[in-house]
């Protein structure tokens, strides 16, 4: 009797507990080792870019909430900022600070959520709940200022929609303290854990060259030793007024990406604290041209504007032909670019590493498919 082994095609997703949405991954496995992997995307495609062409400039803002719904503030910002650049608007000082505050708080919330779900992928169930608890404090603050917990729709072309309610800045300061304390607990719970380290160290290695060649951005790039953060290298808004570091790691593995994100939470909290101190007590919050929501008509031209979202570089390319609607909107979504490297990373890995590697890239499917 002769025996032979066969490769098996395993279809992970679109419904699978750890694909974070509707992502499909077609892998062939030999035993438990992956020999080929093919990410298949598009299950959440909503045609955002095309929709923008039929909507007035302001009307597209709520749609940007729904790209990376974990980090909607930055999406709001980058779209508004690109229109503002086209129109040449000057943003009031207080509005800039409110934007920074909300964006950085949102980045912390996004990283916390990533931390929770990533640990869930790793098989630890408690961090998920702890992360949600802390994220909830931040969402409460954002809810108070913007009126929504996830799809904020807070920024407007030329400023922000609402001024901070009474006592908001103080509550933000308290939240920052609370989260800083709690993150220490999380470090004790997870980072030192030997099982976690054994699973994450040396897994999913991305070299410096590879990271650049694949166009990675955000924590995934910085964990490979490339010190690139748009907040520092090409300061937008008023980021040049704050003192913060760009955490980088040289290892380029899952653990490095984990450490970079945890360090980034601390840096973001630092920015929030500084912004709380510096923010002017009162002032305009929106440019007068932005107040007329439906009457925004930028002059003819095109612009590309980019910002550092929690997942990486988010960019908006906008073409205007002097109409009420934009002629073309192209969105550079960091998750969409980051997920492409998955195919290369997975080959030769056991299935157990698949979820760790996929989780460590921090992909949001709303953003991949747009």
């Amino acid at each position: 009797m002769t025996t032979h082994t066969e490769e098996m095609t395993l279809n992970m997703g679109p419904q699978h507990p750890s694909t974070h949405g509707v992502f499909r991954l077609k892998v062939t496995v030999r035993g438990e080792t992956i020999t080929s992997a093919e990410p298949i995307i598009g299950y959440l495609h909503r045609g955002s870019e095309k929709l923008a062409e039929g909507l007035a400039y302001s009307q597209f803002i709520p749609y940007t909430d729904r790209l990376d719904y974990m980090n909607a503030m930055t999406n709001n910002y980058i779209y508004c900022a690109s229109v503002e650049e086209l129109m040449g608007l000057e943003i009031p000082e207080r509005a800039e600070y409110l934007r920074i505050l909300t964006m950085e708080l949102n980045r912390v919330a996004s990283h916390l959520l990533w931390w929770g779900t990533f640990m869930l992928d790793m098989g630890a169930i408690s961090p998920f709940l702890y992360a949600f608890r802390d994220r909830d404090h931040i969402l409460d603050r954002l809810n108070e200022i913007s009126g929504a917990r996830m799809t904020f729709n807070y920024m407007r072309i030329g400023g922000v929609k609402w001024d901070a309610p009474e006592g908001w800045i103080d509550r933000v300061k308290e939240t920052v303290e609370l989260i800083r304390e709690n993150i220490h607990d999380y470090d004790t719970l997870v980072t030192g854990n030997e099982i976690f380290q054994a699973r994450s160290k040396g897994v999913g290695y991305i070299s410096k060259e590879n990271a650049v060649n694949w166009g990675l951005s955000g924590p995934a790039l910085r964990a490979s030793g490339v010190k690139f953060d748009i907040r520092k290298d090409e300061p937008y808004s008023i980021y040049d007024r704050f003192d913060f570091d760009i955490p980088t790691r040289e290892e380029g593995d899952v653990f490095a990406r984990y450490k970079v994100r945890i360090a980034e939470i601390y840096e973001s909290l630092k920015i929030v604290e500084q912004a709380c101190e510096q923010i002017p007590d009162e002032g305009e919050i929106i440019h007068k041209k932005g107040k007329r929501l439906m009457m925004i008509k930028p002059p003819e031209g095109e612009v590309y504007k980019r910002a550092e979202a929690s997942k990486g570089e988010i960019g908006v390319y906008l073409v205007s032909n002097k109409k009420k609607e934009p002629y073309r909107v192209k969105l550079r979504r960091p998750s969409f670019v980051n997920v492409e490297i998955l195919e290369e990373l997975l080959i030769g890995q056991p299935i157990a590493n698949l979820v760790a590697i996929f989780g460590s890239l921090d992909v949001v499917l709303g953003e991949v498919d747009a």
């Binding site: 909507l55 007035a56 302001s58 009307q59 597209f60 803002i61 709520p62 749609y63 408690s126 702890y130 608890r133 909830d136 809810n143 108070e144 200022i145 913007s146 009126g147 929504a148 799809t151 729709n153 929609k161 609402w162 309610p165 607990d185 004790t188 719970l189 997870v190 030192g192 854990n193 030997e194 099982i195 929501l293 439906m294």
Partner: protein
């Protein structure tokens, strides 16, 4: 090797600490005033300017007006519908409304149903949605009485 044991201390600490659960149907989260929940409509204030229909990014608002009984140049609202199947609660309608006739309340639940048709809310439903929100009502008592008489 033994840093992993520290984690047990953390979970044991949380074991005894205060719980964070909100027992949802029994107790509800108090949403802040600005919360963008389900709309409320004030038919008396509406001037049928059609701004909300234009501003709606998902085209879910439909309205019709009829001539004012006293002054034929003015219009009063006749029907006003929001299709909550498509509404994304973006708040543009209340933002553009010049008379604050359409506002958002902090109500965030009880829109689910077994029938799509139930999501289509008409003027009566919207004006009787009396939940607090980011708006003020003048002579609240009178208005409530008026609503009951209708």
């Amino acid at each position: 090797m033994f840093r992993l044991l520290k984690g047990f201390g953390v979970t044991l600490k949380f074991f005894g600490s205060k719980k964070f659960t909100i027992l949802y149907p029994d107790e509800k989260v108090e949403m802040p005033e600005r919360f963008r929940g389900i709309h409320r409509f004030f038919p008396d204030k509406c001037i049928v300017c059609n701004m909300c229909v234009n501003a709606c990014p998902t085209d879910v608002i439909t309205l019709t007006g009829k001539p004012h009984p006293d002054n034929p140049k003015k219009k009063v609202i006749d029907t006003y519908n929001i299709d909550f199947q498509g509404c994304i609660l973006c708040d543009f309608c209340t933002e553009v409304c010049p008379t604050a006739a359409i506002v958002m309340t902090a109500r965030y639940d009880n829109l689910s149903s077994y029938d799509r048709a139930n999501h289509f809310k008409d003027i009566d439903w919207l004006s009787s949605n009396e939940v607090y929100g980011n708006y003020t009502i003048e002579e609240e008592v009178d208005e409530d009485e008026a609503g009951e008489e209708k």
